[in-house]
Amino acid sequence: MTATAMTTTAESLPGSARPRARRRPRAVRLLTRAPVNAVLAAVALLWLVPSFGLLVTSFRPTKDYFASGWWRALLHPATLTVSNYRHVLQTGGIKDALFTTALITVPATVLVVVVASLAAYALVFLRWPGRDAVFVALVALMVVPLQMALIPVATLYGHLGLFGTVAGVVLFHTAFGLPFAIFLMRNFYTGIPKDLLEAARIDGAGDLMMFLRIVLPLGRPALASLGIFQFLWVWNDLLVSLVFLGGARHVPITVAIFSQLRQFGPNIDLISSASFLSMIVPLIIFFSFQRYFVRGVLAGAVK
C-alpha cells in the first residue's frame, strides 16, 4: 500500500524522469502482491481491533462498559468522555508509575545499547585470546530463561541492598538484555566489510575513532532496532518488576495496572485509560526511530 502510494507520488512529480515503460502494469503488480497484502492486513487487523477496543473503552463511562460492547459506542459517539483520563491523571498514582517505568526503561535501554555496541566491536574487530570462547558463552547465556534467575538474583539483591530498588531492576534488565543484544550487534558488524576498517586504520584511526566514526554510524539501523526492542521489552515487563518492586512505594505502570486488577476487580475505567497511556510512549518511540531503519547503509562502500 505505502510502496504503491510512494511510487505514484514519484511518478507524478513534475520533471521526474522515471522510466515508466519498463515497469510492469499496475494491475499485474497489484495482483501479484495481493496475497501478501491480504495476510499482512489480516495480521494487522488481529492486533488493531483489540487495541482500538481498548482505546474506545477508555473513553466510555464505566456503567456503559457493563451494559454493552465497546463497538456500541461507535454508534453513539456522544456518550464518549475524557473523564477516565482526567480521573487517572488526577489520582497521581498512575503518573508516578509512568515516571517510574521511564526511570527503569531509559537506563536499561541505553546501557544495553552502549555496552552491546562496544562489546560487539571487541568481538568482531579486536583480536584477543579467548575471543571465540567468550562468544560461545554469550550464545549459551541466551538460552538461560529469565524466570530461572529470579529467585537467586532476588537473594543476591537482598545481600547487596538492591532489592526493592529501581537500580536493581535496571541492572537485571540490562544483564538479561545483553547476551542477545551483543549477539545481534556482532552479527551486524560482521557484515561490515573488513576493508573499511583497514582503510580507516591506514588513514590513521585508532580503535576509538574507528568505533565512533565508522562502526557506530554504519551500525545505526541495528542499534535502532535493538534500542526499540529492548525499550518495548522493559517498558512492558511485569514479571521482573513484580518480583523486585512488588511492595515498593514507587512501582512501574505495569505493576500499577496489575494491582488495580487485583484490588478492585475489573476497575475498567482506570485500567483501560492507564493501559492506553502506557502504550502511547512505546508507539512514539517506535515512530521516531523508524527513520533509522534504512536499508542499504553500505551502498557504495565496496565495489
Binding site: 580507516a200 588513514d203 562502500a301
Partner: protein, 370 residues
C-alpha cells in the same frame, strides 16, 4: 617520499607460505608493479608493507626506518583497495578529508587539500555525494583522492582497476601514470594483469607461489625473461614453447622433436649447444615475432606449420597452427593472407629466440639476468 625495501620477507599462514623470502628494493619515487597469477602472494606482500598483517620473518623498511612493528598509521603510507573501501556514510569530501582531519590539520588546510585533490581527479562536482551515488569509475577516483590528499611516503595499490570495465580501465591506467609523474611519489602497485604491469610499471616484479621470479623494466622482462614462467607470463598472446633434444650440427644445433626438426642458428644455437649433445632444450618464440614464409634464410629459425584457425583482429590476424604435434600461435599482418588449411613456414630471427633448460626452467641466455 621514501624508498621501500623488503628484506627477506617471509609471511606464513599456518602451513601456507604466502610470501617466501622476498627481497626487493623500490627506489624513492619509483612506480613498481608487483605482478603474478592469482594466489601468488602479491596482496599479502602489500598488506605486510601496509602493516595490516604481521610478518613471520625478515624486515620491511620505509625510507631507512624498519617498520616491522609499527602500526599502519605510523608508516606514512596510503592504500587504495581493490574494493575501494569508501566510507559509505560519508560524502566524497568527508571520505577524502577523513585521514587529514584525524591528523588534526587546520580546517582551512583540509579544505584546500581536498579541493586540490578533487581538481586533479575531476571530482569537483561530486564532493557532496555519497559513494552510493557514484559510478564505479568515480568511486575509483575517490579512492585515489583519499590517498593523494595524504601526501604519504608511498602509495600502495591493490588491483585498483579490476572493478572497472575495459575502456575505463585503459583510461584510468593512463590517469594513474600521469598522477605518478605529477606527484613523484613511490608507488607499489599490485595486479595480476600483465598488460597493466607492462604499461604502467617503471619496473616490474614477477611473483609465483610466494617467490620472486624476476625484477626488471618491462623491456628487460620482455626481451630477457629469466625463466620459463616469466617468459610465458609476460607478453600477450603468450610465448610459444617447443621442447626437444639438441643434436649438434656443425656450428649450429638441430632441435629434434617428434617427427620434426628445427635448425637453431646464431645466439640461440650457441645457447642450446652449451647444453651438449642429446640434452633436452626448450625454445621460446613470441607470436608477434613470426613472419610468414619469408625469402632467404640467414639468421632465421623456421617452423613448417599447418594452419588450424585464423582469428581476425583488425590490422592483424592471430594464426593458430600445428607444428610437430604442438600448437604454435603467431600474430601476423592481415596482408599475409593466411588461410585455414595452409601449410607454410613461420620464421623468427634467431636473435629473438629464447632458450631454456626445461629441468631448471632457467634461461640459457648467457647474458640474461639471474
Amino acid at each position: 617520499m621514501a624508498a621501500v625495501t623488503f628484506d627477506h620477507l617471509v609471511k606464513r599462514y599456518g602451513d601456507n607460505l604466502a610470501v617466501n623470502d622476498l627481497t626487493l628494493r623500490i627506489d624513492d619515487g619509483e612506480f613498481l608493479v608487483l605482478v603474478g597469477p592469482s594466489g601468488c602472494g602479491k596482496t599479502t606482500a602489500l598488506r605486510c608493507l601496509a602493516g595490516l598483517e604481521e610478518i613471520t620473518g625478515g624486515y620491511i623498511l620505509i625510507g631507512d626506518r624498519v617498520v616491522n612493528d609499527l602500526p599502519p598509521k605510523q608508516r606514512d603510507i596510503a592504500m587504495v583497495f581493490q574494493s575501494y573501501a569508501l566510507y559509505p556514510h560519508m560524502t566524497v569530501h568527508d571520505n577524502m578529508a577523513f585521514s587529514i582531519r584525524l591528523h588534526k590539520l587546520p580546517k582551512a588546510e583540509v579544505a584546500a587539500k581536498v579541493r586540490e585533490a578533487a581538481r586533479i581527479l575531476g571530482l569537483e562536482g561530486l564532493l557532496d555525494r555519497k559513494p552510493g551515488q557514484l559510478s564505479g569509475g568515480q568511486r575509483q577516483r575517490v579512492a585515489l583522492g583519499r590517498a593523494i590528499v595524504r601526501d604519504p611516503a608511498a602509495f600502495l595499490m591493490d588491483e585498483p582497476l579490476s572493478n572497472l570495465d575495459a575502456k575505463l580501465r585503459v583510461q584510468t591506467r593512463a590517469e594513474i601514470a600521469r598522477l605518478h609523474r605529477r606527484l613523484g611519489t613511490t608507488i607499489v602497485y599490485v595486479t595480476h594483469d600483465q598488460v597493466e604491469a607492462m604499461t604502467m610499471g617503471e619496473r616490474i616484479a614477477v611473483m609465483r607461489d610466494g617467490v620472486l621470479q624476476q625484477v626488471g623494466t618491462p623491456k628487460e622482462l620482455y626481451e630477457k625473461p629469466g625463466n620459463l614462467f616469466v617468459a610465458g607470463f609476460i607478453g600477450s598472446p603468450a610465448m610459444n614453447f617447443l621442447t626437444g633434444r639438441a643434436a649438434l650440427d656443425g656450428d649450429g644445433v638441430r632441435l629434434v622433436l617428434d617427427g620434426a626438426e628445427v635448425a637453431l642458428s646464431g645466439r640461440a644455437g650457441a645457447a642450446a649447444r652449451s647444453r651438449g649433445e642429446g640434452s633436452s632444450v626448450t625454445v621460446g618464440m613470441r607470436p608477434e615475432h613470426f613472419e610468414v614464409g619469408p625469402q632467404g634464410g640467414q639468421g632465421l629459425v623456421r617452423l613448417p606449420v599447418q594452419v588450424d584457425v585464423v582469428e581476425f583482429l583488425g590490422s592483424e590476424e592471430l594464426v593458430h597452427a600445428t607444428f610437430a604435434g604442438s600448437e604454435v600461435v603467431a600474430l601476423v599482418p592481415v596482408a599475409s593472407e593466411v588461410k585455414v588449411g595452409d601449410t607454410l613456414d613461420l620464421a623468427v630471427p634467431d636473435t629473438l629466440v629464447q632458450v631454456f633448460d626445461p629441468d631448471t626452467e632457467l634461461s640459457l641466455d648467457g647474458d640474461g639476468p639471474r
